[in-house]
């Protein structure tokens, strides 16, 4: 596992509950998250736009 600093800001994250993929290149326009926002930079209260799960339910997509 690369440490915090080396993490790719463009890494996609997938929701383990519903399979939604957060893509930093797209952001989450419906929640006013602009394109280019890395997963780490999403606000703590951001939730999955499909199932409403919190950030903890997301894992890096491989």
């Amino acid at each position: 596992m690369p440490d915090q600093k080396e993490r790719d800001p463009m890494q996609k994250y997938v929701c383990e509950i519903c399979g939604y993929v957060y893509d930093p290149e797209v952001g989450d326009p419906d929640s006013d998250i602009p394109a280019g926002t890395s997963f780490d930079d999403l606000p703590d209260d951001w939730t999955c736009p499909i199932c409403g799960a919190t950030k903890e339910s997301f894992v890096p997509e491989d």
Binding site: C18, G19, I50, C51
Partner: protein
Amino acid sequence: MKPVEIKKDVYWIGAVDWNRRNFHGYSVAPMGTTYNNYLIMDEKVTLVDTVAEEFWGTLQCNLANVLGDRKIDYIVVNHLEPDHSGCLAKVVEKYKPEKIYTSPMGQKAMEAHFHYKDWPVEVVPTGSEINIGKRTLTFVETRMLHWPDAMLTYCPEEKIAFTNDAFGQNWATSERWADEVDRAKLEELMRFYYANIVLPYSPVVLKTLAALKEMNLEFDMICPDHGLMFRGDDCAWAMEKYQQYAEQKPKNRAVIIYDTMWHSTEKMAKAVAAGLADEGVSVRLMSMKSNHHSEVMLEVFDAAAVIVGSPTHNNGILPLMADMLTYMKGLRPQNKIGSAIGSFGWSGECVKVLTQWLEDMSMEVVEPVKTKFVPDHDAMEKCYEQGKAIAAAVKAKLG
């Protein structure tokens, strides 16, 4: 109803819930419902889903009728919600199946529902295949449509898809096939089901339909777990409907949803309706005192504009409107124009609170109107003009 052989050795063995009017506590079901499940008599006798617990008696009769002296070897669990898994524990106990197949999320949900220790559960992720004799069954995860555990089971030899809640409708009938009933009624009930249950997961519906297309599956029967089944050309019809629903293209329609204490907000609502109608937008006025939130949702689903009205009540809005807005927001309708109206007496928070809800649903907001106490001619004129302004926004949206 007795078991129905839908293809050689494949049976519908569901239960018809004629008297059901309250569906799972959040939606009405004016025509009742059915819990469909299926039994495949192959080398391995396979049961697809069960029924609600209160129909255990019916299920036992149906099983005995088809099984004769054979037993159930496999159970496929497409969705763990109790209307389809309500008899699962009893079936497992009575028939001691060799295997219980479920999706990856299904296994977790099954543990959390039944707290079993020694059930022979096996996870079948998308693409896995099991052999039951002459037939195979393959599985497609439909995660979050509408629960995390949902999957569909496809039998390539018979070209049958068992789709669980997808494509369902709440309709208790003696007929089993979509081609045997009134099509308009069927479509309305399918839309009702979609608007109240599947709607928030429309992106998943689009993804699933695309995936099915990609897999080049042929469909001779689509067998949902509620209501009528589809066969022949109706399979494509059902999928086309779901495609349309999921796209959520607004129609030239508006719905005005309101509650009122002394009828001032109601008067305003009627003036807005007149403005919309005069501009050629079809409009439905729905009082929360006369309509259930699920009935309102059916109208919201198709409408281009949603106007919400409430007087100011204890610095907020009336509770029936709060119920409606909570319910609507949860179902995440897309592509709507919104506006608010309300009468107030002194502090006048109504339209501010209502507008916040509309913004939270990402609606395109048209200027609200509020009136102190009883609307006079000028206030009614303002509401009429608001109706016309909303109609103009609708026209612009529909292009």
